[in-house]
């Protein structure tokens, strides 16, 4: 099937919206959250109207239907990232919880980190892949270290031998930066980290939605991503983990459904993945995420990645036309995702975004949960335009026109 963006757009009801007194919506904030296609919304509604029940617990027709829909989604998600078994898929509420889960279970139990150990991250991490590790180190006495970045927005690997050592217990790294767009050489880093026995945690929040990701070749031990950025509902995220690790590590949240047997004195825990799914999971959202995976696969992740490469290349070229505009991160569409953050000389990102909004162009202004990487480039904040499978070149043109208006207004 050949990819046609106009056909794709018809699947997304919100793209017909008008904002700010009748301006057509130009949604360039997909790195923040994606829009939802009709098939996903239909599955959600049908679930609630026809099959809603709690899962695993019910000996009745609805309970069976709901359980099947939920576990069916686990299989879909597992296939989507080429996990070796559905049991390696743990459903959580978002990427942030997935990353916190891993940080938490490394705080006690057989693989607990402690004084003398090091946790290694990078300067381009999202706060959700910084703060959990800061908290872990604070509580356990381990030391937090990080890779810097180069002026052109790549990981600075010049001191890799100094950073990845026998003391390194964890390497946590973002696959595709939500600020710079950089695609990081995860396999290479993982290989180095594994040589010293470190665990590799990959934040794939910005990669799994946008390109084919295969955990059998990536080299990660854990992978985190989030449903709302990949055409799925809010309220659901995924932690993939290597089965032996999930089995070995201690529990995170305790409660219903994660137990094997409970007495008042002590409890034993269920087999994975249930051990990490305490309480009623986001059932409808997981089912919706399964539908999102179906949707993305029906279009094809290769086609989506190719479309985004084109849009990103076009956007980078056209942004270069805007005087006084500086892109943070790679300025060519090579090893690069579709999030483009930039600063406009003399105009604060809030003001840029506000004027764009008045033109119907939705972008994000701020530090995008990446304050350290902004400080690295000497700014407090930036404006970010980000694309997805439904983004058109005309929308990039609308962005450029509005940016010229920004410069006129604040010039």
């Amino acid at each position: 099937m050949s990819f046609d963006v106009e056909t794709v757009r018809k699947d997304f009801p919100i793209l017909d919206r008008q904002v700010r007194d009748g301006r057509p919506l130009v949604y360039l904030d997909s790195a923040n959250t994606s829009q939802k296609p009709r098939p996903v919304l239909d599955v959600l509604t049908e679930f609630y109207e026809r099959h809603n029940a709690n899962i695993h617990r019910a000996t009745h027709a609805l309970g069976e239907e709901a359980t099947e829909a939920y576990e069916g989604a686990r299989i879909k998600v597992a296939e989507f990232i080429h996990a070796s078994a559905p049991e390696e898929i743990v459903f959580v509420k978002n990427s942030s919880e997935a990353l916190n889960l891993v940080a938490n279970v490394l705080g006690w139990g057989p693989r607990a980190v402690g004084p003398g150990d090091e946790v290694l991250i990078t300067e381009m991490e999202h706060h959700s892949n910084i703060v959990p590790w800061q908290i872990l180190c604070e509580r356990t006495g381990a030391r937090l270290r990080w890779f810097g970045v180069t002026d052109d927005g790549r990981l600075d690997l010049s001191n890799v031998d100094d950073l990845i050592t026998e003391r390194t217990r964890v390497l946590a790294v973002v696959h595709v930066s939500n600020v710079l767009g950089t695609i990081n050489p995860v396999s290479l880093l993982a290989e180095r980290a594994h040589r010293v026995g470190a665990l590799v945690v990959v934040d794939a929040s910005q990669s799994v939605p946008h390109m084919p990701v295969d955990v059998t070749t990536l080299g990660a031990d854990f992978l985190a991503f989030t449903g709302h950025k990949m055409c799925g509902p809010t309220g659901v995220g995924v932690l993939w983990g290597r089965r032996e690790l999930l089995e070995e590590l201690p529990p995170f949240l305790g409660g219903g459904e994660m137990i094997e047997t409970v007495t008042m004195e002590r409890s034993t825990y269920a087999a994975v993945p249930h051990k990490y799914e305490a309480g009623t999971p986001p059932i409808a959202q997981v089912v919706g995420l399964g539908a999102a995976v179906d949707y993305l696969r029906s279009i094809g992740m290769d086609a989506i990645a190719e479309h985004e490469r084109e849009i990103t290349a076009y956007a980078l070229t056209r942004l270069a036309e805007v005087e006084g505009l500086r892109v943070l991160g790679p300025t060519e569409a090579v090893d690069r995702g579709g999030a483009i953050s930039f600063v406009v000389d003399g105009v604060h990102p809030h003001d840029v975004a506000q004027v764009l909004d008045a033109h119907g162009v939705a972008v994000r202004a701020g530090h995008h949960c990446g304050r350290p990487i902004h400080l690295r480039y000497g700014v407090a904040a930036s404006t970010r335009a980000s694309s997805y499978l439904y983004t058109t070149k005309q929308e990039i043109d609308a962005l450029i026109d509005a940016l010229h208006a920004v410069r006129r207004f604040f010039g």
Partner: protein, 148 residues
Amino acid sequence: MYQEIILDHYRNPHHRGLREPYDVEVRHVNPTCGDEVTLRVKLDGTKILDVSYDSIGCSISQASASVLTDLVIGSEVDDAMAAHEAFLALMQAKGAEVGDEAVLGDAVAFSGVAKYPARVKCALLAWMAWKDATLQALARHGGEPAES
């Protein structure tokens, strides 16, 4: 799903009760309902001399334990493992298969249970326990001289 054969085994379970001698004893639990089976295996080389059990559980889990013991006591481990495989496949077939009576005996009566995912765990409880115990017993005999 409640075939006459299942109800018969439920009302008059075969080989029930824990017996001596045995090589290995295991206890398996169904976390959802708290049902439990304690099961013992006695091998002689690769021959299954006895399988005895005690359990709390529903008609399906009781009957399937009874059917299991009928099938495996006195047979070779290999044949019993093949029956186990066949039963597992039957239980995962969602009711689309009828099962091979030559391999499964009375256990073919459980094909209807496979339509009810929540009950599949009940039907498998004793079978999983038996496999676990048998593998442990084999490993033990393999590692050190058989005690018997």
